[in-house]
């Protein structure tokens, strides 16, 4: 077998994201990665919150004040939604892993359900949290 010689001309690349027409499944796939990355960063907030609780009343007071503020609540609200979206996206992957949901209609339905379901769950969680306190 002759050794392969790498050509010196630039190889054609496969079309990238900006070439394709956006579809629901594609958008939800990209969004799954984005939400995963956001949760990755948000894990630091959880660590700060827990370490503050372990550090004493003064440290916890500061952190609790931030998360109770308008900005803090907004962060928590968006964080809840991102978490729910990533969770439903993961469940969608489980459905696919088991071999179901590959038809066009099912794919679209699952992609839409991920977005709509995440919004409903987020609103439900906050409504319950705010009314049951």
């Amino acid at each position: 077998m002759a050794p392969t010689v790498r050509p010196t001309v630039a190889q054609p690349l496969s079309p990238h994201l900006q070439i394709y027409r956006w579809t629901w499944t594609m958008a939800m796939s990209v969004f799954h990665r984005i939400t995963g990355t956001a949760l990755y960063g948000g894990a630091a907030l959880v660590a700060i919150w827990l370490v503050a609780l372990a550090s004493g009343p003064a440290a916890y007071g500061t952190v609790a004040w931030f998360f109770g503020s308008i900005v803090g609540r907004l962060v928590l609200f968006v964080y809840t939604w991102i978490l729910m979206h990533h969770m439903l996206g993961g469940l969608r992957h489980f459905i696919w892993d088991l071999g179901y949901g590959f038809d066009r209609a099912q794919r679209m339905g699952l992609a839409r359900a991920t977005l709509i379901g995440s919004v409903i769950l987020t609103v439900l969680i906050w409504a319950l949290a705010l009314t049951l306190r």
Partner: protein
Amino acid sequence: MADNRQNTNVTMRTPRARVKGLGASGHGAGHFWTQRLTAAANAPLMLAFVVIVALMANRPYPEAVALMSHPVVALILILAVISVTAHMRIGMQVIIEDYVHDKKLKLLSLLANNFYAVVVAVACLYAILRVSLGKLV
């Protein structure tokens, strides 16, 4: 990747490597499996985590410590921290491997990813144990 060629002499791979079947990455489908395993654990654990955070809101310090000290709460949080940090470490590694092509930057990113995941995990676990066992109030 399975090697289905008839004549396997034409390869640089050792017979042992072929038998182990772990591919170029050296870990085969291990990451895929761990990612699914931790995902399955994360779903109920993070729903419980959301409830715990909602219960913690607006509590004065001694009550917050008392709630966190409850064995069920502490156990759920410890399990969640372990599962989530393992999940996010692999997830970010895949993203880095997909998008960072510069060798040095890739190596640094992978290092940083591991350090970050471990620091977050250990900080959370230490704090949970300190609060639940430390008699802070």
